[in-house]
């Protein structure tokens, strides 16, 4: 199980575009597509897979594996607390 | 559709829809309400239907407003109605008292849900029936009915308007979620077969001497003058004399309140409705109302099949309580069983009017009473011979 924690503040000194990793809690998703359509980097697309309730989850669009910039927009607009991103330490 | 918009014929209606259609058939042309599950479909149906038939549908800002608006409409001559459920019903209480005091006819539908408080909004209950009797402050009397089918949602809505108009009293239709939401055949009779009791109206030739709260007839009901007819009436929630003028006097108060109560109790036989089955040789009688009566009838039939001499009395009206009907059977029967979707409310009234043991089959609500629970109670009572109250 994943550890639960609060969001930690961004270090403002070092300006760089962070890379993000998308996480999902499949059983929470209701397939509203808001994350998909509003992602500024078009990282996501509708998957053909459904969860147990029959909703189509978001998945990473082809070629977008490393496109997430961790802007967290999907995190903040998902009405279901189903998707979020975490910064990838490279 | 007839010229007045009544959809005569056979329909497959939800209980709430049937209630709305009953209102239209009764000539109701004003609805002021505030949505609340599980009564909302009544408002929704009337919002669609009233514009077709020239009725006024207004969604008010709350239940106090709804109640006040229908009283205003009634004062202007309209048959007027609102529909709600427990929380809204509680909020209507103050103005139900005003309706009593002003003697303004109106119909209030309460499609009961699991209670108290917000409770179980989408699930059934029958626990507002004592509130129907005692919910506003002060002594008063009104009439309350309890339909057990969509057909009765139609029929009793019509009856409710008739009683309201005839006795100048608010009438409550105490439905429950099961009946409000179930869909069943409803037969809407031709308009000339829909009973209509008129409001008693004053004599226009005696405008100047008219006393709006003087009941000259033995039924204790004064004629009702509507706003705009030139009678220059005064209506108040204060204690008032026969002219309608406020009077701060204990004797006038006693006389007024007593009349308000007696105009219902003295006319009870014309208002009350009950239905009975298998009573000829019954030693045990099951009493139920609303959706629970459907379970009860099934249980009684099953018990009859097992040879138990059990009868079934359905309270179609709850208030005034059918005292006469109970007096008639009180001594012929060994035991009573009251089944209701609450923790024992009408059972308290039954207890006061019969001298035999009363067994309650209660459930606080949330699901229709299973027939088997009633059947079990019948078997127990039958086996015990002598019975005692749970």
């Amino acid at each position: 199980m994943m550890r639960v924690f609060a969001r930690t503040p961004i270090d403002l000194v070092e300006v760089r575009v962070p890379r993000g990793q998308v996480y999902i809690i499949p059983e929470r998703c209701k397939g509203c597509k808001i994350c998909i359509e509003l992602c500024p980097q078009d990282v996501l697309q509708v998957s053909s897979q459904t969860n147990a309730k029959g909703y189509h989850l978001p998945e990473i669009a082809p070629g977008k594996d490393r496109a997430c910039v961790h802007c967290e927009f999907c995190t903040v607009v998902c009405p279901e607390f189903a998707i979020f991103t975490m910064e990838v330490d490279e | 559709m007839t010229s007045t918009g009544v959809l005569v014929g056979k329909h497959f209606y939800q209980g709430d829809e049937a209630c709305a259609e009953g209102a239209i058939a009764a000539g109701c042309r004003f609805f002021g309400g505030y949505p609340i599950t599980p009564s909302t479909e009544i408002a929704e149906r009337l919002a669609r239907r009233f514009p077709e038939v020239g009725g006024v549908f207004i969604q008010m800002e709350d239940e106090m407003g709804s109640m006040a608006a229908i009283l205003g409409a009634s004062a202007a001559g309209a048959r007027a109605m609102t529909a709600t459920s427990g929380p809204g019903f509680s909020l209507m209480m103050e103005n139900i008292g005003l309706a009593v005091m002003m003697e303004l006819p109106c119909v209030v539908v309460n499609v009961q849900r699991g209670s108290p408080s917000t409770g179980l909004p989408t699930l059934p209950g029958q626990s507002d029936v004592m509130q129907a009797r005692w919910g506003t402050h002060g002594d008063f009397a009104l009439a309350a009915f309890s339909p057990w089918s969509p057909q009765e949602m139609f029929d009793l809505t019509v009856h409710a308007f008739n009683v309201a108009d005839r006795y100048r009293v608010p009438v409550l239709l105490m439905a429950d979620e099961v009946v409000g939401h179930m869909v069943e055949r409803v037969v809407v009779p031709p308009e000339d077969q829909i009973p209509k009791w008129e409001r008693k109206r004053p004599d226009p030739k005696r405008k100047d001497s008219f006393k709006p709260f003087l009941a000259e007839d033995p039924d204790l009901v004064p004629p009702l003058a509507h706003a705009g007819e030139g009678y220059r009436v005064h209506f108040t929630g204060l204690t008032h004399d026969e002219q309608g003028y406020p009077e701060m006097d204990a004797e006038i108060h006693h006389r007024l309140v007593t009349r308000l109560v007696e105009k219902i109790s003295h006319n009870a036989e014309k208002i009350v409705r009950t239905e009975d089955h298998f009573m000829e040789d019954a030693r045990i009688v099951v009493i139920a109302y609303g959706s629970t009566a459907r379970s009860a009838r099934r249980a009684v039939k099953d018990a009859r099949r097992e040879g138990v001499p059990v009868g079934f009395l359905r309270l179609v009206s709850l208030w005034p309580f059918p005292i006469k009907q109970f007096r008639e059977i009180a001594d012929q029967v060994d035991a009573f069983i009251v089944a209701e979707m609450n923790l024992g409310q009408m059972a308290l009234e039954v207890e006061r009017h019969v001298r035999r043991p009363v067994t309650g089959v209660y459930h606080a609500g949330g699901a229709m009473m299973p027939p088997d629970r009633i059947l079990e109670a019948i078997r127990e009572v039958a086996n015990r011979g002598d019975t005692h109250r749970r």
Binding site: - | F12, T37, R294, P370
Partner: protein, 179 residues
């Protein structure tokens, strides 16, 4: 006679309308008694949806389905949830493309959604299913259901729905050998 029928599927598949049509067919256009009930929950929408009918030849006291005699399912979730609540020997009808029944279960299948799509409107899968139900369940006359459809849908789509009904009805007869 008392028969308990449950139609179940996914929100948006028109389960409620199908129940209403069937209920009308029984109670207005045939000589039976019918009661329809639906489950109401706090969730506004989504998830499994069901419509329940009790049909009998005498007044119906208890209006709820306790153990369905006939179960019609248009989604896997509905099947999984409601199959155990139906009689073990219930007549189970499924949209065979959407539902994978358990291995012990013998069901009647129809690709109702596909057939509806073939008619150009996925949304009439419910009525296709009604046609199939009418043909196979043997509890209601064809004409009664047809009349009920006519009186329940907007006039502009009566024809489409009749076609859908017919498609389902005919599908049953085409595959009769298999039943």
């Amino acid at each position: 006679m008392r028969k308990e029928i449950r139609l179940a599927g996914f929100g948006g598949q028109g389960i409620g309308l199908a129940g209403l049509i069937l209920g009308k067919a029984f109670s207005l256009y045939d000589d039976l008694e019918a009661v329809m009930t639906q489950a109401y929950g706090p969730e506004a929408r989504g998830g499994a949806s069901s419509t329940n009918l009790v049909v009998a030849d005498r007044p119906i006291d208890y209006p709820f389905v306790q153990e369905a005699d006939i179960l019609v399912t248009l989604s896997q979730e509905a099947y999984t949830r409601f199959r155990p609540e139906a009689k073990p020997d219930a007549l189970v009808i499924i949209d065979e493309d959407l539902v994978q029944p358990s291995s012990q279960d013998t069901c009647l299948g129809i690709p109702a959604t596909k057939l509806a799509e073939d008619l150009g409107r996925r949304i009439v899968a419910n009525v296709v299913m009604l046609g199939f139900f009418t043909a196979t369940a043997g509890v209601i006359k064809r004409e009664a259901v047809e009349k009920a459809i006519e009186s329940s849908v907007r006039s502009s789509v009566v024809e489409l729905n009749m076609k859908a009904f017919n498609t389902g009805f005919e599908y049953a007869h085409q595959t009769e050998g298999d039943l």
